[in-house]
Symmetry: C2
Subunit: 189 residues, 2 copies
């Protein structure tokens, strides 16, 4: 386990506070107090509050993009692809529960990188949609409204950060497989 730099400590602490109160409600003085230093000292390590948010969100978004690239070009069924997507979300979220809150709720405060983030997200949703469409065409997935299926599954995956921290010793493998079953097969007998 590599040692965290001071900069990374600040970013991780910020992510935690951003999850609790949202980006706008967290002041640089709040963040400094949580680190046990004065606000001005933060600027030895980061260049602005903006930059902290950017670091949190963009790295996560790029992780999702990378994961999706691998999955879409794999030579497996579309149901299997969906299971891989579920696992991708569980893994990334388990490793950065705090950051996922910012990704979901504070991306609109990104300013310069906002459009880049939105482009990544749109591409991701589109890749996801294509898995569903191909699955329907090949008879692997039931033929109901694609947008409703996309919305339903993706909403659950995007909300994972709200639930994962509650678990103590999380078995990501187990959660991922249970979640896949529920999302794919539903809940009725």
């Amino acid at each position: 386990m590599r040692q965290e730099t001071r900069r990374e400590e600040i970013i991780n602490t910020a992510a935690k506070l951003f999850k609790e109160k949202g980006y706008s409600a967290v002041t640089m003085r709040d963040l400094a107090a949580e680190m046990g230093i004065k606000a001005a000292s933060l600027y030895n390590h980061i260049s602005s509050k903006q930059e902290i948010l950017k670091e949190i969100i963009i790295s996560l978004a790029e992780n999702f993009t990378k994961g999706m690239q691998n999955i879409k070009q794999a030579n497996i069924s579309n149901i299997d692809k969906l299971e891989k997507v579920v696992q991708l979300h569980v893994d990334i979220t388990a490793n950065n529960t705090y950051g996922m809150a910012s990704l979901n709720n504070d991306w609109m405060h990104l300013e310069e990188k906002r459009d880049y983030y939105l482009a990544l997200r749109a591409a991701y949703e589109n890749d996801f949609r294509n898995v569903l469409i191909d699955g329907v065409n090949k008879g692997e997935i039931v033929n109901v409204n694609i947008e409703v299926m996309l919305f339903s599954v993706l909403s659950t995956l995007r909300s994972l950060y709200l639930w994962i921290p509650k678990k103590e010793d999380l078995d990501t493998q187990l959660l991922s497989s249970q979640l896949s079953k529920v999302l794919i097969n539903g809940i009725n007998i």
Copy 2:
């Protein structure tokens, strides 16, 4: 269609802005500008920024509570109860897309009413959980991890506000039935 009071106009406009930027990032001057007046003039109609948030969130939360009371005491199967819950979410969200964003993301800024909100939400989740448990016990619902099923379905329903506004002429009845199918039966063949 009853005429909106000036107060209600302010609260609805605030909800719209809160959805776009979050409660903390919206200033009273932003809100006033959107209404075409000066910030100080808002205080002829509301007593504080806090109060606006409270009005938005608490009324919605109480609507959910009321709806759940009706559903839990109905003499129908647990699967039917779930369908009613889906419809409840679709109806409330379709009628107040903006407010639902605050309910989901800004409840932590409620201050005095925060604990009351959290109590309502915990009770709601518990009623929801009991429908699932009773369904499993009666063999209507598959016996997998209750918390995973609860999380999955509730996350989708709570995220509805992000998707509903995109539809132009929304048929809530249709959306509700499609969503129920996906959530209950899953997406595979």
